[in-house]
């Protein structure tokens, strides 16, 4: 299967999102890939809107099974979430559990006016009633397949598709 260059996917997202941007919007990226995508989006949209980052480690539903992620990053929401239209950004949408955790975390900062979800790749395989409002690409991958966003030392983004064992 062929996946486009992440920059092309971001361009597609920008095209979808740009018409809907208002002054009371904010961008929030989910660590780590979502933050990279969010930063790229914010830059290309060229609007001076507030941004924030979320680490959902403290909100994961599998904590009691796998424990705490060894590299937790602080969440930073340096704006008032109350009544804000939040664009939540992640790299890959799969089961929906990360987005669930991110929304819970966001609500601990306040009550947003709305949350919309933008993802670079929607790979299918949802386990929760969550869908992306904006997606750079929509795929149907088998459960064994694995797609991940990577960033190299030069800051360039790459998508890697792992076919898995199957």
């Amino acid at each position: 299967m062929n996946i486009d260059n992440p920059n092309q996917l971001i361009d597609r997202l920008v095209a979808q999102i740009a018409p809907l941007m208002q002054d009371d919007c904010a961008f929030v990226g989910i660590h780590s890939g979502g933050v990279w995508v969010m930063e790229a989006l914010a830059e290309r949209l060229g609007r001076d809107l507030p941004t924030g980052t979320l680490d959902i480690s403290f909100y994961r539903d599998d904590f009691s099974r796998i424990g705490l992620h060894p590299e937790v990053k602080p969440s930073q929401i340096p704006f008032d979430v109350e009544n804000r239209h939040v664009l939540l950004v992640d790299d890959v949408l799969y089961t929906g559990r990360t987005v669930r955790a991110a929304m819970n975390l966001l609500f601990d900062y306040g009550r947003p006016a709305s949350i919309r979800l933008a993802v670079l790749v929607d790979r299918g395989g949802r386990e929760l009633p969550i869908c992306a409002d904006f997606a750079g690409a929509r795929l149907e991958l088998a459960p064994g397949q694995h797609v991940a966003l990577l960033r190299d030392d030069a800051g360039e983004l790459h998508l890697s598709l792992n076919q898995g064992a199957a």
Binding site: F58, I66, G67, P74, S75, N104
Partner: protein
């Protein structure tokens, strides 16, 4: 020595009993995790759901309202249920053994014991006997260890100084009876601090304290000279007069931290104290409240550090 007891076979923190023998990797991971809990404490809603449904028992065989409170706040911010037991005034006085008490509380479906005990090694003993799903966090045992205090002190130093590799740190006061000092020394040497000093009269130092990798000073003037960090230890009331020291006044004169003595440390030195302070005994009010003091931030950081420790041990799996 307790590394095996404290770590799971795959190297995760299972109990926190002492900082001795814990690898730098684990100490750094605790500090990093604590860093992520700092913003939680600054939010309006200061809670995360990590330990929802878990029962944390504060087992205080020795009273300490302050330490118990910080653990209680930390556990509650992790959404745990907290049960406080002041055992100093209950069971063991009725002849029940420590292990019987622990077995009883385990039967109440405890998930974590936070233990304060007057005898060194008591949390180790409990950790050896608890069911596999229960974690033990040492909240101070005898003169042995106070690992979360040591960690919050490391957090504070890293926060203000960026790291440990070029630092000169002086620990001043009653090292002999201090579990805090022992935990600080283990943590500093593990994290790569090149020069740790202890400053005290010989009566307040263990005989072989140099075997812990510290430099021994008896005089304040030379002891804190050019130091980046000056940690003052609390002097217990009962030790102020007697065979260890003639009087609080004489102690203050020679080993109390005054603005004048502090001038010998580096101009940007920070001053720390584990609390509660004896103003006018080990530290002058002008220093305690002055620009070098980071004593109150220590307390704030303490909550985040305890949240980090509790969430790590609770998630270490059975």
């Amino acid at each position: 020595m307790s590394a095996n007891l404290q770590l799971t076979p795959d190297g995760r923190l299972r109990h926190l009993l002492t900082l001795e023998g814990l690898p730098a990797r684990i100490l750094t991971q605790i500090l990093d995790t604590a860093e992520s809990f700092i913003p939680v404490g600054e939010r309006e809603l200061k809670k995360v759901p990590l330990l929802r449904g878990k029962a944390v028992f504060n087992l205080f065989f020795e009273n300490s309202t302050r330490t118990r409170t910080t653990f209680e706040i930390a556990a509650k911010r992790l959404s745990a249920d907290v049960i406080n037991l002041n055992i100093a005034t209950s069971a063991t006085n009725k002849g029940e053994t420590l292990l019987d008490t622990v077995a009883n509380l385990s039967a109440m479906q405890a998930d974590m014991f936070v233990v304060r005990h007057a005898s060194s090694g008591a949390p180790h003993l409990i950790a050896r006997h608890v069911a596999p799903h229960i974690s033990v966090v040492n909240a101070g045992d005898g003169r042995c260890a106070h690992p979360t205090q040591g960690l919050l002190d490391m957090f504070t130093i890293r926060h203000y100084k960026g790291g440990f590799h070029n630092l000169r740190v002086a620990i001043v006061g009653d090292v002999l009876h201090s579990r805090v000092a022992r935990s600080q020394i283990h943590a500093l040497t593990t994290l790569g601090c090149p020069e740790v000093r202890v400053v005290a009269p010989k009566t307040l130092l263990p005989r072989d304290v140099d075997s812990m990798g510290v430099h021994v000073h008896h005089k304040m003037e030379t002891g804190i000279k050019d130091c980046d960090v000056v940690i003052m230890l609390r002097l217990q009331n009962e030790r102020m007069q007697g065979a260890l020291l003639p009087s609080a006044g004489e102690y203050y004169k020679y080993w109390g931290l005054t603005p004048d003595k502090l001038k010998r440390a580096k101009p940007d030195a920070i001053v720390m104290h584990p609390g509660p302070m004896n103003r006018g005994v080990e530290i002058d009010s002008d220093v305690a409240d002055g620009k070098h003091s980071v004593i109150l931030p220590q307390v704030t950081f303490g909550i985040a550090v305890r949240m980090a420790v509790m969430s790590m041990v609770a998630g270490s799996g059975a």
